[in-house]
Subunit: 349 residues, 2 copies
């Protein structure tokens, strides 16, 4: 799958595939300012919790390059403002705030002894965030693949593939590794309304990877579980609280309830950067509300009568009790998650 990339630093700028145009067009956009990157995140050119964390890192690197001052205090202040702007673009995924915090810790530490050096360190850190993410994904893949027995059918919601991260994928990474190990019979792909990340992005990735799959509407997931056609569910995450409650794309909670009701194990695959140990439970995770008009449209066309009121919470929270395991780069966490998360996930990196 080397024929596309999600995000890349090159030539003093950040290039991203424009995910809004997939699967119909593969076009890349290039950003030379932090404002540009923030706009790309806000307008969904790039999405997926780890991917927008990586984008934020590069956004900070662009900002660092653009600040001409040699005054450490001013440099830190302006970097902090840029970080705040990035964090404000999307409230639910924690990776954004995590990446900004990582960069800012470095800035605050090194700027006083030299702005130029701090500037270089910011880019190095952004690249490191991206590299570490890929390593984490591949580790999750290897560990997660062992959860499947031969001939497994797995259902996934939204897109937690290479497009949602720097490279490889979280949930799709696990499915990919399991497929390479000869264990995947078929992937059920929830289309994931209203933004259709499943139909547009996951189906596109699975086709490129040659992994057998079926596209279904979100409303069919329960039916196929009821009929015994689904052996496991595997999704990504946007933020995981200290007790294991998991915020992810709207509809994930429903899939998790249906999985439990049908005794199908429900797994989450997410790197340590997706955990937010400052949040005790899912109730404190902010759920982003997006433009309800997106619900009134599908495939770019209006489907409902003009003036139809709609609602669009973009995420939901799956309580930990529905989750059979969380696959991280440090291994598969099992309930009780309060204990397993505290043991394995580093506090405030």
């Amino acid at each position: 799958m080397s024929d596309f990339f999600t995000i890349r630093w090159s030539d003093s700028s950040v290039a991203m595939i424009d995910q809004r145009l997939l699967p119909h067009r593969e076009a890349y956009r290039r950003y030379k300012s932090c404002e540009g990157v923030a706009g790309a995140i806000r307008s969904m050119v790039i999405r997926g919790a780890p991917a927008i964390g990586i984008a934020a890192g590069f956004g900070m690197a662009l900002e660092a390059r653009s600040i001409r001052t040699r005054d450490a205090g001013e440099f830190v202040d302006r970097m902090r403002a840029a970080g705040d702007m990035l964090v404000a673009t999307r409230p639910t995924a924690i990776n954004l705030a995590w990446a900004v915090r990582r960069v800012m810790a470095l800035v605050e530490k090194h700027a006083p002894s030299g702005v130029d050096a701090a500037r270089r360190l910011v880019l190095r850190e952004a690249r490191r965030i991206m590299r570490e993410d890929e390593v984490a994904n591949r580790r999750m893949g290897r560990r997660g693949a062992l959860l499947f027995s031969k001939g497994s059918s797995v259902l996934t919601h939204c897109n937690a593939g290479a497009l949602a991260v720097g490279a490889y994928g979280t949930a799709i990474g696990v499915i990919r590794a399991a497929h390479e190990a000869g264990r995947i019979k078929c992937v059920f792909v929830d289309e994931t309304r209203p933004y259709l990340q499943g139909a547009r992005l996951t189906a596109w990735e699975l086709k490129k990877l040659g992994i057998p799959h079926f596209l279904i509407t979100d409303s069919m997931a329960g039916h196929f579980m009821q009929r015994g056609e689904v052996d496991a569910v595997m999704t990504g995450a946007d933020r995981i609280a200290a007790n294991g409650d998991t915020a992810n794309k709207i509809g994930t909670y429903s899939v998790a309830v249906l999985a439990k009701e049908n005794r199908v194990p429900f797994f989450v695959a997410a790197p340590a950067s997706t955990f937010d140990l400052s949040v005790p439970s899912g109730e404190s995770i902010p759920v982003e509300e997006r433009d309800p008009d997106e619900v009134c449209c599908a495939g770019g066309r209006r489907i409902a009568p003009h003036g139809t009121p709609a609602r669009y919470p973009a995420f939901d929270v799956t309580p930990a009790r529905y989750i059979a395991g969380i696959i991280t780069e440090f291994g598969v966490l099992r309930p009780p998650f309060g204990v397993s998360i505290a043991r394995v996930i580093p506090r405030q990196r």
Copy 2:
């Protein structure tokens, strides 16, 4: 809501609003042959279990008019062939077979004593089926409305309104009556992918009726229940087995499971014609599979990569254990449904 009609007999033909064009265009089609009506059912000009039962009755009336023979045996044979054609158009909703059976019982009884009289009786019976359906709907409305307390928010899936019946509506009929009684705060309308009956038809009807509503994607139903914003779920049905297992639009099962998990009562509203006492449980109800390409499209546009395999079961079966009550013209049936159905629903009408 007298500014449209779903189906009407007039001028020796059947007129129907073309539901495929809603909500963007209100256009009517006129059919003068049973083949035409069968085509209209097959291509979804008309849909909704009671509505296609009514259409089948009128289709039989058109057939009876077109058969020129005075030979009773030939008349019966050709009527039976027409009935078989109608029943074959859509396999899940039982109202189709029920209406054809009702008409055929009359034909078989009266044709031997005169084909002309039998012909007239067929049209009378078709009209009666439609009239009885409206009476049943209004009764269901009155009885069902009592289930709601003031300020209730109710969630519905697919379209079980006036467009799904002869007039008034089953689930939406109940909601309508409850609204008139001042008990409805808001209706959550599942968009109901892939055919979008909720977004296209239910939102259109509720707007005309002036009932407050929100359109949501199917994947959001669970989230709003989890947040305590839904007081009850109310759907229609395509076929109800003797034990209460209920086949309805794909996604209904998921809504029912989510309702149970969140202690939200899940109700079905359906006239006696929707019960199939010859079927002991839901397992024996055939689930129609429709063109999977519809899943790859939304709003008339392709959303998935070309060549994406998809699946499209058009219905699912909700086991009786998830159902709090079934609202019929004979009252609200309660569990255990095997007992309450046997007591109230007439055998083989």
